[in-house]
Amino acid sequence: MASTAQHTADSFEFRSLLNLTLLTGLRARDLAELVQHMRTVPGAVIYHHTHHFLVQHQFLSPEPPNDFAYWVSNILLEERLGEELAAVDLLRFPTLRDLRNALIQVIQGFLDRSSNLRTAPHGGEFHFMESVSYVMPTSVHATNLAEFREGLARVSLSSIAYHMFDARLRLERADNDFSRWLEHSLGEGQLAEAFRKVDPYTYTWDGLRRRLLGMVGQKLEENSRGRA
């Protein structure tokens, strides 16, 4: 597991995360096989299928949901179940275990009510994959809110995603990195709370960057008015 010691005193060090995709060799042709594998695969597999769309389709609007929902809706054509899976709120779950259980519960509920299962056409099987994540430093860091805004504008989108998505769910830090630093190092509790309320999964990445920059900009203006 990556170290959580990324803040030095008052400095915020922007990091970035890159994923390499491993093929597990596991495939599912129907929902029974899907849920059977979902119970046993490593957490890195659940992470991959709920987050790689965010990486690969980061400019699409509206964004496709997680892989499970996409496969169920578009390949198995079980639209109602697909919608339920797409609606699973990733922000509600503090760990991948909890997220996995929630997804399984939705599918199991459907299986308990259904007698006939649709099978994916040949070539449309669900392929289970796994992310190997590499956490890297960037040369960008901030010691105050103005520098933070500058960094936020400069770093790659995968860096923003790392601090917003991965720190919380993949590394189980309970909070996103930005909110933690804003609150504990800068004493910007209000702004930290505003960051927490943003649902990063509903934005394109570029849209997310703009949203966060807008909030920081507004706060900087308020602070400067307060000083004047």
Binding site: M1, N19, L22, L23, E130, P137, S156
Partner: protein, 407 residues
């Protein structure tokens, strides 16, 4: 040849910085690429670009090519087809030819590198050197080996199973193996002649040369004259669409001169087009990269109506030019297009005709698909992403059991 800095305006500062940092982590590590040809084909094209870029970020990368007799390359061509599913029988003599060529290359090649990166089945047997060298070996499979002809996979399996890591282009092209498999899609180079930005005058000059006027919307398919690319189906779909929207079709192909089946398909295409003035059939030599680039840029809608496909990188080429693409949902195409988000996936002539009409009638929607498609390619199918994945694969060999690695 373009250096890494020239990619910065295209992919952004962060991506270039990440590549440099990954390079630093692998600094001084020697990586030897081995394939079977220096020119021609997608693998050579990519290595020509990647090796200098890897060197630029500090990796000691080099590239060797195996040698072999005509007999050996005839055999590996048969192997290639059989791995794709064409029935064949491999004899003890075939095995001897393969082993003999492998031995000769083992004797002549310097395989002393920290990582030996073997591309495709032809040089796969070189893994024999691993026992003495104690280095790491990667096998990169550029083809679909999911449904080979009986006996074909068994021919190379004993070698492949000795590698430390294997790489496939799409999950559906892979097969279950006792060694780790990673997914690394191929890529296009945004700075190559086939994909670089062109001036309007360059595009117009090419259109003039092939006798196409830009006075009505242009629908285009770029691909070899091959039945799996369904050029006849493209003509039929175009004609159905033209009943409702005025437009013209360009079918761009090449390589028909030295391929008897291609020549036959081209004849059939000409017959089906007959004397239709709205259908332009353009047979270009394989080096016509700027011409293909210009035709794609001049197009209103691009089609790739494949019935069977490898990865189908022509789709990414068109998407990169911001074009709305209608393509068959086969091979690697669904990885490049998410239906109605970044393009259109179809299964029939009628469906293709329907979407040609729709996209010509709804230019705002078509533009949105093109815009989404271009961004999807920017993030997933450019050379810089390919290079990043290779660098990560090299790093993976150092910690194969870790799932979160702090660099």
């Amino acid at each position: 040849m373009a250096g890494l800095e020239e990619y910065r305006p295209i992919v952004g500062e962060g991506v270039v910085a990440e590549l440099r940092l990954l390079g630093e982590r692998l600094s001084g590590r020697s990586i030897l690429n081995v394939n079977s040809t220096r020119v021609g084909g997608g693998v050579a094209e990519i290595l020509n670009r990647l090796v200098p870029l890897l060197q630029e970020v500090g990796v000691d990368a080099r590239w060797e090519v195996i040698r072999g007799t005509q007999e050996f390359f005839d055999l590996t061509k048969r192997m290639h087809n059989a791995l794709h599913g064409k029935p064949d029988i491999f004899s003890a003599q075939d095995r001897e030819i393969f082993n003999h060529a492998t031995e000769q290359n083992l004797a002549s090649l310097d395989l002393g590198a920290d990582i030996v990166f073997i591309h495709d089945p032809q040089p796969a047997g070189l893994i024999r050197a691993k026992r003495d060298l104690s280095n790491k070996w990667i096998w990169r499979c550029h083809i679909d080996v999911s449904a080979p002809a009986p006996g074909a996979w068994e021919f190379i399996a004993p070698a492949v199973e000795k590698y430390d890591l294997t790489v496939f282009s799409a999950p559906q092209f892979s097969r279950e193996l006792p060694v780790p498999e990673v997914l690394i899609a191929p890529s296009i180079d945004p700075l190559s002649d086939k994909n670089r930005e062109l001036r309007d005058s360059e595009v117009e000059e090419v259109l003039k040369r092939i006798g196409v006027r830009s006075d009505k919307p242009i629908v285009t398919q770029v691909s070899r004259f091959d039945r799996f690319k369904d050029p006849i189906g493209v003509i039929d779909a175009f004609r159905l669409a033209r009943e409702r929207v005025d437009c013209q079709l360009i079918l761009v192909g090449g390589g028909a001169t030295d391929d008897p089946e291609g020549a036959q398909v081209l004849r059939e295409v000409r017959e089906r087009a007959a004397d239709d003035n709205d259908i332009h059939i353009v047979d270009l030599p394989p080096t016509s990269n700027v011409e293909i680039n210009a035709i794609q840029r001049a197009s209103t809608v691009v089609i790739q109506k494949s019935l069977k496909e490898g990865f189908g990188l022509t789709v990414s080429e068109a998407l990169w030019k911001g074009k709305p693409v209608i393509a068959g949902a086969v091979g690697g195409i669904p990885l490049q297009i998410t239906h109605k988000y970044s393009g259109i996936l179809t299964h029939t002539v009628e469906g293709t005709a329907f979407w040609i009409k729709m996209l010509l009638a709804a230019p705002e929607f078509a533009a949105k698909l093109g815009e989404n498609g271009r961004e999807h390619v920017r993030n997933n199918f450019l050379l810089t992403r390919h290079m990043r994945d290779y660098l990560l694969a090299f790093l993976y060999l150092e910690t194969p059991h870790e799932r979160v690695v702090e660099l």
